[in-house]
């Protein structure tokens, strides 16, 4: 209310609406995300918070309204919602990172290979990718577990591998959809602490969906999505 930042937002949604057939999931969303901030998106199931995340990340194109991504001072802001799917896919690969609740690791790949995939997709040499992956796994406290398969890791370890994969390309924005949704309190706390420590160090912006207040408490700010709109009384801008 009083702390409106004058710096330009890294992500900016204006009048975003999205429908799946007859169902209107988002009914006019305005939201700014500040560079380096950690934003929690809360809300009841089916409120449209996942759809909002997908629109912000260029996974879905809003039926109406626009989403603009302004990476940094040096680069022109781009209207994500106006890009073609291949271009959005490329942008997601290079500028964004993703962490989901579960089942995002390829079960047949070792931890190191799982983390390497985004780099390989970006054209990095495999040896280089593996070296950087191993470093990132070390940073997440997974020393010596690089050769393990996801099935051989605990839930918390697997989730940290997913975080490593999301952060290894140094994305500008990390999108996390219930990142600790399938973990117990302690596991959840460990993953969040280490994830946020790293994003604050890298200056990564985070948009995190959660229905868990203790998780949301790690964020700098929160908004609630109810019935496709942001709850009254929540700051749509930092």
């Amino acid at each position: 209310m009083s702390t409106i930042d004058t710096r330009s937002p890294i992500l900016s949604a204006r009048g975003v609406r999205h429908s799946f057939g007859q169902t209107e999931a988002l009914r006019g969303i305005d939201l700014d995300v500040h560079p380096g901030e950690v934003l929690a998106v809360m809300g009841p199931s089916g409120s449209g918070k996942s759809t909002l995340l997908h629109c912000l990340a260029g996974v879905l194109v809003p039926t109406r309204g626009s989403v603009t991504y302004g990476p940094s001072a040096g680069r022109q802001p781009v209207e994500i919602s106006a890009l073609s799917e291949p271009k959005r896919a490329r942008l997601r690969l290079t500028d964004f990172g993703f962490v989901f609740q579960f089942g995002q690791l390829l079960p047949e790949l070792s931890a190191v290979d799982n983390v390497s995939i985004p780099m390989l997709l970006g054209g990095t040499k495999r040896s280089e990718a593996r070296r950087r992956s191993a470093d990132m796994l070390d940073r997440l406290g997974l020393e010596g577990l690089g050769a393990k398969l996801p099935g051989e890791l605990s839930g918390g370890q697997a989730q940290r591998v997913a975080v490593a994969r999301a952060l290894v390309t140094s994305p500008a924005v990390l999108f996390a959809d219930e990142p600790t949704g399938s973990l117990d309190s302690l596991g959840s706390e460990n993953v969040l602490t280490i994830m946020l420590e790293l994003v604050r160090e890298f200056g990564t912006t985070v948009v995190m969906i959660t229905h868990d207040a203790r998780t949301a408490a790690y964020a700098d700010r929160e908004v609630i999505v109810r019935d496709g709109v942001i709850g009254a009384g929540y700051r749509v801008s930092p």
Partner: protein, 744 residues
């Protein structure tokens, strides 16, 4: 078991109808194919049995007493008299019309003969003939001077019991005893053989069995694939049943029943389908003739046996699979982690090959014929090899993918190689159908390459021209008769020249010389170019043999005239049209001066000695087509389920920005690596097995470069594999769309 529960389990939901329909349809097609192939194999057998009498060679019509004390010298030949218990028969090896061989048997018999010639009531009188319906039809629709004049007066058709198939061209003509004895090719026959394969009957039945296994295996594979349809979905349903209190035994029983019901419906439908398709199947030409419909009938015993066997086997397998999966109340309890395949998987393949090689070594190197051991070794070895390829596949696939993972550079390569390395059995299963199909195709291509058609010889000076006919002159023909026959032949439309060659005696006589003498002026008509400046030229008599491939040269004959020589051969040069050739054949053969029927160098193309293998090859190519189609289908199904199994994770990868093209490359690699790994092996093994089989039968056969059909079949299977994988591309896009990961 509670009937209501069973009903619920079998037709639980609308989606299970699709699975049940799939099983029913697949089993119907499988059973139909099994019965038709069984019928086809039976038909070939029956056909060869009916045609067996044509293999009768009889006993010599002359006896040549050996001179006492000197086994190499022999006394003068004395005719063995014709009695009521024998007939005199001349088997005509090359009665050719257009590009078809006619089986001609000339008979002379006493009126009182007791010998029964198959298919006809009594032996034809001289100048009369019996023909198969197909041949008679041909005679009636062709100008007399091209075909009909060769045989004489039609007196009746040969019964079906003596005809291999409805298209068989067979003629039985009557001749005088003198005529036949004079030809030097007459034999005495007291009874006709019923053994269609002579001495190699055992070997042929071995080939037949191996062929049957090879053709049936892909069909069994189809049945096994369709009964496994929708296994994942079924597992979920069973887990629910377990949760509400069903015991593992109940689950196994439900699995058995729910497979048995659609299998039974499908099998019965397959039997009906086979009966309906039988007339159409009979139209397929195998070895130049279609089949009698009755030959394809398998009888209700066989149909019942197939139905019972398929239904029992499929439901037992379903029950076994279900109990092995260990479905608990919370889903599959036993880890789905595959056990790593190891080198032991090579054992069945090696054992199979060892068995076949042992059999061949016994026959070829040690020259021991132990029939009771040979056949089981060959057949068992073949079956083991077939199973062995399927067993060894995952291990090889894993070895290759392990190397591949080390070398992998791109994301698609890493993902595909890792997947294959962790689940080699599952990934190989999706291509096993194609691999087996290719193996079977290669075996048959290799085996049938031995009866590859000889290339039509090119026209070269110094060799008998392709568009020419020659007939050797029978002993005792007069100069005038021969000259008249040659003159008449020469005047026929389309005939360029008719040349008479001379020698000291008829070519089938003992004092025939090594050379044939010609008038120099006639030599150009035979295609010679370097002609010595003289009246009479000579050429080696190997000139007449079709196997002579080195051009011969004309030499100056020692004598300047033909005095003291007799005509030994008439060579007719035609313009190459089939009508002219057949007119000349008819004229020469009807002239009465020839010892053998007129032959052309092209005739060799029509002669083959491995009829059974060729017949099987036709069936095999049919079976192969089915096998490849099935294999392609199973690959598509397997690839699709490989995508759907990983719907969530692949969907999330796309969400992270992985392009669809990478997903396509992953899926393509997962099919290509196991396929290519084992494809080369199965091709090589196919030809090795073919060589082992063929040399096991007869040491004169050689496996050579296969026919173009083979490469077509191979290409087809690769195209089909591509199409199968390609058909899942749209599924990849749709199945991994963002919506696939929502609401979970």
């Amino acid at each position: 078991m509670n009937r209501g529960l069973l009903k619920l389990a079998v037709v639980g939901s609308r989606s299970s109808y699709g699975r049940l329909t799939g099983i029913t349809g697949g089993v119907a097609v499988g059973v139909c194919l099994l019965l038709l192939l069984w019928g086809g194999a039976n038909g070939l057998n029956a056909r060869d049995d009916r045609g067996a009498w044509l293999r009768e060679t009889g006993s010599p019509s002359v006896s040549i007493p050996t001179t006492a004390g000197d086994p190499t010298a022999s006394g003068p030949a004395t005719p063995v008299p014709l009695t009521a218990a024998t007939v005199l028969m001349r088997a005509n090896p090359v009665e050719v019309f257009r590009d078809q061989l006619i089986n001609r048997r000339d008979f002379a018999a006493l009126g009182s003969t007791t010998v029964k010639i198959p298919g006809i009531a009594s032996p034809p009188a001289p100048g009369e003939y019996y023909a198969s319906p197909a041949l008679q039809h041909l005679i009636e629709t062709t100008p007399q001077d091209q075909l009909g004049d060769r045989f004489g007066q039609f007196v009746g058709t040969i019964g079906e019991a003596a005809l291999p198939g409805p298209d068989s061209l067979i003629v039985v003509t009557g001749a005088t005893e003198t005529e036949l004895r004079q030809s030097g090719h007459a034999f005495l026959v007291s009874a006709f053989t019923t053994n269609p394969y002579g001495a190699s009957a055992a070997a042929y039945s071995t080939v037949l069995l191996i062929g049957a296994i090879a053709v049936f295996f892909p069909v069994l594979l189809l049945i096994s694939i369709v009964t496994g349809l929708g296994a994942a979905q079924r597992r979920e349903r069973f887990a629910t049943l377990r949760l509400i209190g069903a015991s593992p035994r109940t689950i196994s029983r439900i699995a058995a029943v729910e497979t048995a019901v659609p299998s039974l419906i499908g099998a019965v439908f397959g039997v009906v389908l086979a009966a309906v398709l039988r007339p159409a199947t009979a139209q397929i030409t195998v070895n130049g003739t279609r089949m009698f419909e009755a030959d394809l009938a398998t009888g209700w015993e066989a149909a019942t046996a197939v139905v019972v066997l398929v239904v029992t086997a499929s439901s037992l397998v379903a029950a076994y699979r279900t109990s092995r999966e260990g479905i608990g109340p919370l889903g599959v309890t036993r880890a789905m982690q595959e056990r790593t395949p190891n080198a032991w998987r090579m054992v069945p393949l090696l054992a199979g090959l060892a068995a076949m090689i042992t059999a061949v070594l016994l026959i070829r190197v040690l020259e021991v014929r132990v029939p009771w051991l040979e056949s089981p070794l060959l057949i068992g070895g073949f079956a083991l090899t077939l199973v062995g390829i399927v067993v060894v596949g995952p291990w090889l696939t894993q070895l290759v993918s392990r190397m591949g993972l080390r070398q992998a550079r791109s994301a698609a390569a890493v993902i595909a190689a890792s997947r294959i390395q962790r689940t080699p059995v599952a990934t190989f299963r999706s291509v096993s159908g194609l691999v087996i199909a290719v193996f079977v195709v290669s075996v048959f291509a290799g085996a049938s390459s031995i009866i590859q058609e000889a290339e039509a010889p090119a026209a070269r000076p110094g060799l008998l021209q392709p568009a020419s006919l020659h007939a050797t002159v029978a002993a005792g023909s007069s100069q005038d008769q021969v000259a008249e026959a040659a003159r008449r032949a020469g005047q026929l439309p389309g005939i360029r020249s008719a040349t008479i060659g001379y020698g000291p005696a008829a070519l089938n006589q003992r004092d025939a010389g090594p050379e044939i003498f010609l008038r120099a002026e006639d030599a150009p008509g035979l295609g010679f170019e370097d002609i010595p400046e003289t009246e009479i030229v000579a050429v080696d008599s190997s000139f007449l043999h079709y196997w002579t491939t080195q051009p011969l040269v004309l030499t100056r004959a020692p004598a300047q005239n033909l005095d003291g020589l007799v005509p030994v051969v008439i060579v007719v040069a035609a313009d190459g049209t089939p009508e002219a050739m057949d007119r000349a054949r008819t004229a020469l053969d009807g002239s009465g001066v020839t010892a053998i029927p007129a032959t052309s160098p092209l005739d060799i193309k029509l002669q083959s000695s491995a009829r059974l293998v060729q017949g099987l090859a036709v069936l095999a190519y049919l079976g192969m087509f089915v096998a490849i189609a099935i294999a392609g289908l199973s690959l598509a199904v397997a690839t699709a389920s490989a995508v759907l199994d990983r719907k969530r994770v692949l969907g999330l990868m796309r969400l992270m920005g992985m392009p669809v093209s990478v997903l396509r490359r992953i899926i393509t690699r997962e099919a290509a690596v196991p396929l290519l790994t084992v494809l080369l092996l199965s091709i090589a093994l196919g030809f090795l097995v073919a060589w082992l089989m063929v040399t096991g039968i007869n040491d004169t056969y050689r496996v050579t470069w296969p026919a173009t059909d083979y490469f077509a079949a191979l290409g087809l299977s690769l195209v089909l594999a591509l199409a199968a994988v390609g058909s899942t591309f749209s599924l990849i896009r749709a199945g991994t769309a963002i919506t696939a990961t929502r609401f979970e």
